[in-house]
């Protein structure tokens, strides 16, 4: 009983101490978003800094929000006001159209979604096929049509490119490609594979920093298959009314950034390890020499960013765990009471556990938007199983003699549950909560995928940039938190588990003094 009373009280008390950080996204400034890759961060940061210099008082750059679906959803729900996007992606993912379309037709389609699109920023970041210069020169390949004459070359293509109609399937049809070796590979790894000669060609983006650095030949799209991926600013239709200076900032960053300038900025971040803020600053200096001013949004120190991410991480874990206990414990009790219901509940929570996190997040975003809420919901769902299962196990493994004793005392069913069965199951239930807590600390790193922040944020950036120190900024505190959760629960068990349950039953015969 002691355990049952204390654990929720403790968690509630901890929650009460938290700063109300969820409200952060709701402040009334302009929010610039960016997707989960360096080019998007640099552009988003450049726009945020330009807006500050235009005199807009509060500008927030929510960088690294994840894939197109997530940022676009954020834009439509108003969590983000503007972010850099590409015309091809707008056609394919937002408007669900294939093929090329004029700007006017796209603007009309976007208007129906409450969105608007700027003029092109100035560069095309489209798909292309690239090969090492040496191989291309030896085989005399200059165009994609040339490639079709070498079906034995090994293609390593990104999974997205393999799946999109404007990717490999369309390309193969268009050019009559019949390559014998096509395999899926992650984008950054494809460059490593190319450099080591494991594959002969890969799909690239035309502003990739690696093109120049690795000496790649970009094959000419001689039969004009690839759609244009002109970078544009995608913003909410109501933005100009809310803040006219935001539109001015957007216009000042259109038609000015060339492919070469973008490749240089990308290379600074990806290859030279310069921060995306600094890369954005030098890009701005290049394209708007007149407007250089004091640095834009202040850069955060490492310590303060670790502290902020850790606090957010802990908030997510504690809230998710609290909800999982509040729902999982009654579910476990219900499941222990009836074999059929129990089977159904355990199956359902078990299935939830097997849904890949990305898939779960993708399902939750249309329902809950982006940011804190879908991350919390996903963590809550993942935390359920260990709590429900251990509650069931704890309640149903009561020794037969004690079950008989409990059933033969004149107690109400509720008293049997709360005074006898639950306290005796306390060690198992607490162990389940501990498992959930440790899992939750790990899974909460995925919250960064939907812009909920936390320690996954530096990890995600670090993976993108292949910068180990960034990964460690997230991974080390996360590991420490997991360890802390483990130790904390060991300690809690000493307090919360009734004394009589803590040691194993000792033999009754030896020192009998009846």
């Amino acid at each position: 009983m002691v355990a049952m009373k204390r654990a929720p009280v403790l968690i509630a008390a901890l929650l009460a101490c938290l700063p109300a950080a969820q409200a952060r996204g709701a402040e009334s400034g302009i929010v610039v978003g960016s997707k989960a890759f360096p080019e998007s961060w640099i552009l988003g940061e450049a726009l945020a800094r330009t807006m500050l210099r235009e005199g807009i008082p509060r500008v927030l750059h929510r960088h690294n929000l994840g894939g197109t679906e997530i940022v676009a959803q954020a834009l439509r729900s108003g969590a983000v006001d503007v972010y850099p996007e590409y015309t091809g992606t707008i056609q394919e993912v937002l408007l669900h159209r294939s093929g090329q379309a004029g700007a006017d037709s796209m603007r009309a389609g976007l208007a129906r979604l409450g969105l608007a699109m700027s003029d092109p920023i100035g560069f095309n970041d489209g798909y292309a096929i690239a090969m090492p210069e040496s191989v291309a020169a030896r085989l005399g390949i200059r165009t994609v049509s040339d490639l079709a004459r070498h079906p034995d070359l090994r293609l390593g293509l990104t999974h997205e490119f393999l799946g999109r109609s404007d990717g490999y399937p369309g390309l193969a049809r268009h050019y009559g490609l019949s390559m014998r070796h096509v395999l899926g590979i992650q984008h950054e790894l494809a460059y490593t594979a190319l450099a080591s000669g494991r594959i002969d060609a890969t799909d690239i983006y035309t502003t990739d920093a690696q093109i120049a650095r690795l000496g790649l030949r970009v094959l000419e799209d001689d039969r004009r298959f690839f759609p244009r991926y002109d970078a544009v600013w995608l913003y909410r239709l109501d933005l100009p009314a809310r803040e006219p200076r935001a539109l001015e900032a957007i216009r000042s960053l259109t038609g000015r950034i060339s492919e070469e300038a973008m490749i240089r900025a990308n290379a600074r971040v990806v290859l030279d390890g310069i921060s995306y803020g600094a890369a954005a600053e030098s890009l701005l200096t290049e394209v708007r020499p007149s407007s250089t001013g004091p640095a834009g949004p202040e850069r955060e120190g490492v310590a303060s960013s670790i502290a902020r991410n850790t606090v957010r991480h802990v908030e997510l874990v504690l809230l998710a765990l609290f909800l999982a206990i509040a729902i999982g414990l009654p579910l476990g009790i219900a499941a222990a009471g009836s074999r059929r219901l129990g089977g159904a509940i355990l199956l359902a929570t078990g299935i939830l556990q097997t849904i890949p996190s990305l898939a779960l997040l993708a399902v939750l975003i249309p329902l809950l938007g982006i940011g804190f809420r879908p991350a919390l919901a996903a963590l809550f769902l993942y935390s359920l199983l260990p709590i429900v299962r251990n509650t069931v196990v704890g309640l149903s493994t009561l020794p037969a003699s004690l079950r008989d004793a409990a059933e033969s005392l004149p107690l109400s069913p509720w008293a049997r549950l709360t005074r006898i069965r639950l306290p005796m199951a306390a060690p198992a239930i607490l162990a389940g909560i501990q498992t959930s807590a440790v899992l939750c600390v790990g899974s909460a790193t995925l919250a960064a995928l939907v812009g909920a922040g936390g320690l996954g944020e530096p990890i995600l950036s670090g993976i993108q940039l292949r910068q180990t120190h960034l990964i460690l900024e997230g991974a080390v505190p996360a590991a420490a938190l997991a360890l802390l959760a483990q130790k904390g629960f060991d300690l809690l068990e000493r307090v919360a588990v009734p004394r009589g349950l803590r040691r194993p039953e000792e033999p009754t015969h030896g020192d009998d003094h009846a």
């Binding site: 033969s408 005074r419 349950l501 039953e505 000792e506 009998d512």
Partner: protein
Amino acid sequence: MSATIELIGVRKRFGDTLALDLPEFVVQERTVLALIGPSGCGKSTLLRLVVGLLRPDQGRIQIGGTPMGPATRSQLLPRIGYVIQDGGLFPHLTALENTALVARHRGWTRERVDARVGELLELTRLDPGLLGRYPSELSGGQKQRVALMRALMLDPGVLLMDEPLAALDPMIRSRLQRDLRDVFGRLRTTVLFVTHDLAEAAVVADEVALLNAGRLVQRGKPAELAAAPSEPFVTEFIAAQAPPEALGWSR
């Protein structure tokens, strides 16, 4: 407060095995009856039927005239005390908490609980210093005394004990047998006491009922069973019990 226990036409099967078949079995109030017999003879099943942990396939069970069934069980349970072999004490509760659990649940005042616990300490001869201990900190004999206190807390008319002394060593066992006999003498409760030991039955009980394979074989004073066995099984069962003299000590 003492109550009569009646089993009329009771049959209980477990799968293909007939566990109990008693055309009529009555324990008059204030009787201490020992149920004896080999393992699997149905003596524990009889107790579990009386306390309502099992339901008979046929027949009815009455306690003080009230039939035991799903509808009446919660009203009958306060009149039944039930002690099982290992005591059945809840490991997360102290001796006192185990004893007072039901009374507190029923809203007794602290004074009333304390007074009743005092009476029971005296009755069962438990050292009051042990009340704050958890079951894991008590010896086997002490556990059985606490289990008896818990069973008697509400002053039930019927006390059921299922081999309460089986796991204890002989010294403790013989002391507890004598203490139980005194307790039963003072309580004047109807007692059903399951044991497989005829000597133990002779110490604690007024009367003995020998069961075999679910049937009542013979019922009477312990001496009567030896003097006038109703069938060869009775002689066989008595002979199989080690006579105390053979162990080199006497009662």
